[in-house]
C-alpha cells in the first residue's frame, strides 16, 4: 500500500546539538512502525517534528501526498495527524471528558458542544473509561490517564497516530490490554508510529522497526532482524536484555 505518512531528510538542531539528522521514514495505513533508540537519541524530537510541535530545519513531511512541512501543529491535526504525549497534557482539575471533547471540537471533523460530548463519551467508552468520564484527571490512575490521553488524540480523528511511550509503566496484564488497543487501531486502518521501550510490545505489534541513535537512523527492517543487529544491541538493548522486557 502507498505510504500515508512520508518523511524525507528531516533535520533539527538545538544550538550546536543536532537532535534529528536527515531522518526518512514512511508508514502505510494499517501499519505499526516501531521507533526505538537510546534515551536522548531524538525519538520524541522526531515525533514533535512530524506532529508540528516543533518546526524542522530541513526536510519534508507529506500526508497522503500533501506537503504539510510548513503547516503549524493545529492545521496538521486537521490533516489527520495527531500524537499522544509521554505525560498527559491536560488541565488536572478538569473532568476527563472535557479534554476529549476539546479534541472533538478542534479536530479534523469538528462538532458543536453537545455532539462533541456525545462523541467523546463514545470514545471513552471504547477505551473502558466511560465510568470515569466525569472524574477530574488528577483523580484517575496512571493507566486511566494514559487512556484519556489516547482518547483526546483519537477524538481529533487522526489517520496517522504517533504514540510516545503510551505502553510504558504497565503491568504485564495491563500491557496486554494496551497492546490490543493499538492492534485494533491499526486494524481500523490507522498508520501508527510507536515509540516504545517495551520490547514485548515492539516485537508483537511492529512489522517494521526504525532504530535511532544520536539523531541518526542506524537500522531499519523487520523487528526480529533489527533486534538481532549487533549495533542495535550495543547501543540500545544492552547485553543481557536482547530477549527480555
Amino acid at each position: 500500500m502507498a505510504a500515508l505518512l512520508q518523511v524525507d531528510g528531516l533535520t533539527k538542531a538545538f544550538g550546536g546539538l543536532v537532535a534529528v539528522s536527515n531522518m526518512s521514514l514512511a508508514v502505510s495505513p494499517g501499519e505499526v512502525l516501531g521507533l526505538i533508540g537510546p534515551n536522548g537519541s531524538g525519538k520524541t524530537t522526531l515525533l514533535n517534528l512530524i506532529a508540528g510541535t516543533l518546526r524542522c530545519d530541513a526536510g519534508t513531511i507529506r500526508i497522503d501526498g500533501e506537503d504539510v512541512t510548513r503547516l503549524p501543529n493545529h492545521l496538521r491535526v486537521r490533516r489527520r495527524i495527531n500524537r499522544t504525549f509521554q505525560l498527559v497534557r491536560m488541565p488536572p482539575n478538569l473532568p476527563a471528558i472535557v479534554g476529549v471533547m476539546a479534541g472533538v471540537m478542534y479536530g479534523a471533523d469538528p462538532k458543536p458542544y453537545k455532539e462533541a460530548e456525545y462523541e467523546a463519551a463514545g470514545i471513552l467508552g471504547e477505551l473502558n473509561l466511560l465510568l470515569k468520564a466525569g472524574h477530574r484527571l488528577d483523580q484517575l490512575t496512571y493507566i486511566e490517564q494514559k487512556r484519556v490521553e489516547l482518547a483526546r488524540a483519537l477524538a481529533t480523528k487522526p489517520r496517522v497516530l504517533l504514540l510516545d511511550e503510551w505502553l510504558s509503566g504497565l503491568s504485564p496484564g495491563e500491557l496486554e490490554g494496551g497492546m490490543s488497543v493499538v492492534w485494533s487501531l491499526a486494524a481500523q486502518g490507522l498508520a501508527v508510529i510507536l515509540v516504545e521501550h517495551v520490547m514485548t510490545a515492539v516485537r508483537a505489534l511492529c512489522s517494521r522497526v526504525v532504530v535511532m541513535n544520536a539523531g541518526l537512523k542506524i537500522a531499519e527492517g523487520p523487528a526480529d532482524e533489527v533486534l538481532r543487529d549487533a549495533e542495535v544491541i550495543r547501543a540500545y538493548l544492552g547485553d543481557d536484555d536482547a530477549g527480555g522486557s
Binding site: 534515551n39 536522548g40 496512571y142 509503566g169 496484564g173 495491563e174 521501550h197
Partner: protein
C-alpha cells in the same frame, strides 16, 4: 528500620490502601509489585508524608512518621524519587542536584555526594550545565534518582524508576541500584517485576489496596502464580 502497620487511606469512598503492613530491615532492598491502581504509589507517598493516611502507623527507626511534614521526613533520612520525577525543569542538572542536598544534616557533605552520584551516572557529569527540560525522559529519570541520593538518605523510595528507560539504561539503572543498596535501604515500586525481583531481597504483592503475598524475591520469581500475574509469562 521501617515498620508500616495497618495503614489505610481512602480517596472519597475509594479505599486505596486497606490495612497494609510491611517491614523493611536496614540494608534491605524491598520491591512492591502490583497492577496500576493497586495502591503502590499511595503507599510510598504515605511514607514520604505526601499523603496523610486515614489509619495506621509508619515507624522509621522507632519514630512515628504519620503527621510529620515531608521535609521533616527527608531530614530523618528518607528520600523519594516520585513517579513524575518532579524536577525543576528550567534549571541545570547541577542545580537540581544541589537542591537535593538542601538538608540540614548534609550541609558540608554535598561535594562528596555529588562525586558519588556522578560516578554512578557519568552522563550527568557530562551534562551538568544542561537545563533539565532539554533532556530526554530517560535522562531526567537519572537526574531524579541522583537528586534523591544527594540527600544521602538511609532509605530511598523509588516509584517506577525504570519508567521510560531504554532496555540498556534500565539494565544499567538496576546495576547502579544494586551497587548503592550496600549503603542505603531501598523500597521500590516497579512494573519491570523481573528486574525488580532480581535486585530486591524481598517483595510484597499488592492488589486492590491489600497485601496479598510476600516473600523472598528469588522464591517469588520462581513461583508460577506470581509469574503469571506479575511477570507476564
Amino acid at each position: 528500620m521501617l515498620e508500616v502497620h495497618g495503614l489505610s487511606h481512602a480517596y472519597g469512598r475509594h479505599k486505596a490502601l486497606d490495612e497494609v503492613s510491611i517491614r523493611l530491615r536496614a540494608g534491605e532492598a524491598v520491591a512492591i509489585l502490583g497492577a496500576n491502581g493497586a495502591g503502590k504509589t499511595t503507599l510510598l507517598n504515605s511514607i514520604a508524608g505526601l499523603v496523610r493516611p486515614t489509619a495506621g502507623s509508619i515507624r522509621f527507626e522507632g519514630r512515628e512518621l504519620v503527621g510529620l511534614s515531608p521535609h521533616r521526613i527527608v531530614e530523618m533520612g528518607i528520600a523519594t524519587v516520585p513517579e513524575n520525577r518532579r524536577l525543576f525543569e528550567p534549571m541545570a542538572v547541577i542545580e537540581n542536584l544541589n537542591l537535593g542536598a538542601y538538608v540540614d544534616r548534609e550541609r558540608g557533605g554535598a561535594a562528596a555526594a555529588l562525586e558519588r552520584v556522578f560516578a554512578l551516572f557519568p552522563r550527568l557529569a557530562e551534562r551538568r550545565r544542561q537545563a533539565v527540560r532539554t533532556m530526554s525522559g530517560g535522562e531526567r529519570q537519572m537526574v531524579a534518582i541522583a537528586r534523591a541520593l544527594m540527600a544521602q538518605p538511609k532509605l530511598l523510595l523509588l516509584d517506577e524508576p525504570s519508567l521510560g528507560l531504554s532496555p540498556r539504561l534500565s539494565g544499567e539503572l538496576f546495576a547502579a541500584l544494586g551497587r548503592i543498596s550496600h549503603d542505603v535501604s531501598i523500597l521500590m515500586v516497579e512494573q519491570n517485576a523481573r528486574r525488580a525481583l532480581a535486585m530486591a531481597d524481598r517483595a510484597y504483592l499488592l492488589a486492590l489496596g491489600r497485601i496479598v503475598g510476600e516473600g523472598e524475591a528469588d522464591l517469588l520469581a520462581r513461583d508460577s502464580a506470581v509469574a503469571r500475574s506479575y511477570l507476564g509469562l
